[in-house]
Symmetry: D3
Subunit: 161 residues, 6 copies
């Protein structure tokens, strides 16, 4: 079986893979993740969005700033000039979860999946940080790529979201 590693050379050594010859196209990616919180935390967050103690406002800034740090965190990621980054939250009343979606865009030579995943993760970790005095048992889960477009590998859309 032949593995299609994208970040190792033929000798098995890690490499920031050569994308110099790739075409510059518009590329987008959206990633999603959730954090399961206790009921008091959920209600505190829900109330904060409207007024004081805006947990999600801080987490959104953290997520957007983290997309710009992706190539410093993920060793083989190319530095990229993102031209859009956004983080949106939805409060899942029935399950007590906060869902975050991070959307990233650029015109460049390589995709932005990692930037979207890094943004969503940093946003969720920030929620954890700001609520941890109330609850240390929060769990992050379902962090995955929802969709990507652009580039040679084409369009990807997650099934059964």
């Amino acid at each position: 079986m032949e593995h299609r590693w994208n970040h190792f050379d033929e000798a098995g050594n890690a490499v920031m893979v050569d994308v110099t010859e790739k075409e510059i196209t518009v590329r987008t990616a959206a990633a999603r993740g959730r954090i399961q919180v206790s009921r008091p935390v959920f209600e505190a967050i829900a109330q904060g969005t409207a007024a004081k103690g805006d947990v999600l406002g801080v987490a959104r800034v953290a997520g957007i700033m983290a997309t710009k740090k992706t190539s410093e965190l993920i060793p083989m990621c190319h530095p990229l000039m993102l031209t859009k980054a956004a983080v949106d939250f939805s409060l899942k009343e029935e399950t007590g979860e906060i869902e975050a979606v991070c959307t990233v865009r650029l015109a460049g030579r390589t995709g932005v999946e990692m930037e979207a995943l890094t943004g969503v993760t940093a946003a969720l970790l920030t929620i954890y940080d700001m609520c941890k005095a109330m609850d240390r048992g929060m769990v992050l889960s379902d962090i995955c790529l929802l969709e990507k477009s652009g580039g040679k590998s084409g369009h990807y859309e997650r099934q059964g979201i």
Copy 2:
């Protein structure tokens, strides 16, 4: 109901909370997370650890380096002088998951939960990055604090791991 926010002042504004008067004690934290991968990815990773294409070796370095970047990523985290950071992986043959545990330690005025969580997350995202050409459907989950000790809030150990 009174919320015990640790990162907002009385006016509801975000703040890097004052820990100046807290005692310097030895503090540790361990966090855990998993990534669900396809069978070919699982096997490629398992083979790589022994020889070429060492995905976990790169992910370990990424995780350790990320613990040192926590206060740059999580807005209200204090800068900390970590005195230990480690990332360990286990391959869950039966479920096709890679599990990562990040352990962090310091003698300081505030806990290191966020550092452990940031380290484990960066390690898992690096696995995603290095295998994404084979499988874009990988999912990160079960990212949580396993244990912490030190400081006034005392010992925490996750139940029913």
Copy 3:
């Protein structure tokens, strides 16, 4: 006349001055600055604080995060483990100015004036950035140290604030 440079050696070369032997004491600093904005910008900011378009919320996060980057920006600053950072705003209705005050604290060997000044400046620059589509003529001014305490040089309080 003998100049008391704190960041040059006897040969006139820049140096990160030796503070190894200085005592660890609690040190605080507060810095202040203002941004003069047009009336429409002022009103938009005032409305945003209560609900949507929270300019000051984003600027506060930027200011707090910038305090942690001070030693990366100011060449001869020592890296410091801040134990508190906060940014407060007041809206000066009569003059159309937004005032920011950044307060920083730590127990350490050297003062935190530069951290407070860096925090207040980054907060004001963020206000500029988020409002610049409405008005490019905004001016930052009156950026200065309000107060510092701790260390051998003792207490400083700005006269005639």
Copy 4:
């Protein structure tokens, strides 16, 4: 009244605005700022430029390096590949002020005002840092955009400089 926020979406959430479709054009920006210093500090700086204790040399390096950190400091700024950055100082004998002007340039999809403003501010803060043992009362003021060109919003030139 409709506010033309450039960094909030319709729901009022902060966003790194989408500039993907904007044209790549040459864009320049120049920003200016001043620091008011005491007479002994002024003279020390003036003497230093010619020989030892080169405060302005260090401040220039700090300003240029800070332009490259803009997108790490200002949350909604796009990462940009600057193709020029310079900082110039003039000594205002009559008022005891040091004036700094930072000029930035690139061929890109969005303007470089924030980079010029960040550069000029970091340069002035570095002057403060290097002279603060002599005088803690220094004040930064008049930090503003002098001129910008390129892009759809066109040319801007500050009136009554």
Copy 5:
């Protein structure tokens, strides 16, 4: 004699030189360096590559990540979007040296020599760090540019390598 400084303006002030009008071409650079180690260190490294204690694996990641940090370290370097980075090692049995070569590539307006040199240096320093408990006398040497291509200054190849 006229000096062709590339990083000073006519007044002798440091500047990040204007490359805005330069053509975008494919540019590559390769740099090399060596570390002289003691025999026990050499053998430990040689054994580690095959199994446990993979010094070179960690050093390779460090070198690749450092190429992306070049413009943060070298004050007048332009920020660049590298499209390839690799580090290769060879073990010189006869001399007890480890040789590192770093290769970098991009399509851009300025060359990548400094990125290649920074990558090779960080890789060698990481070897030093990981072996320093065994031997503090290791020496880095022969760090130089091997080859560069692209841009107006054309092809350069080191003679007598």
Copy 6:
């Protein structure tokens, strides 16, 4: 033979080694390195130190700032609160070399060799950068630890400097 790796655990995995229990002592380190330059470059640098085109002034700032970035560059280095950093140059007329020595100090739990070595290397690379338009054949060499003190491993002094 048993290797005393300081940055691998018993399983051979890289780790940021636990120094939590180490004593806080004053620790210093000095590192040295050289860059061989052509005669025109040497003369240009020598003239620049006295007046315009101050290559060594910029390189000194770069070296000092790099000491603060060590733990971001060298994967297993602990983040440290340096309390002194300096870089000194000497011009070796007879050999056409510039020599740099970087001295670092702190009161902490682990040594600062890597900080001194990183500082000296960044200073030399900056000289290369600023002179490379005149000469691409410059070579960095003899980068080594001169001396260290403090901590359990005690005093080290390089023989036959």
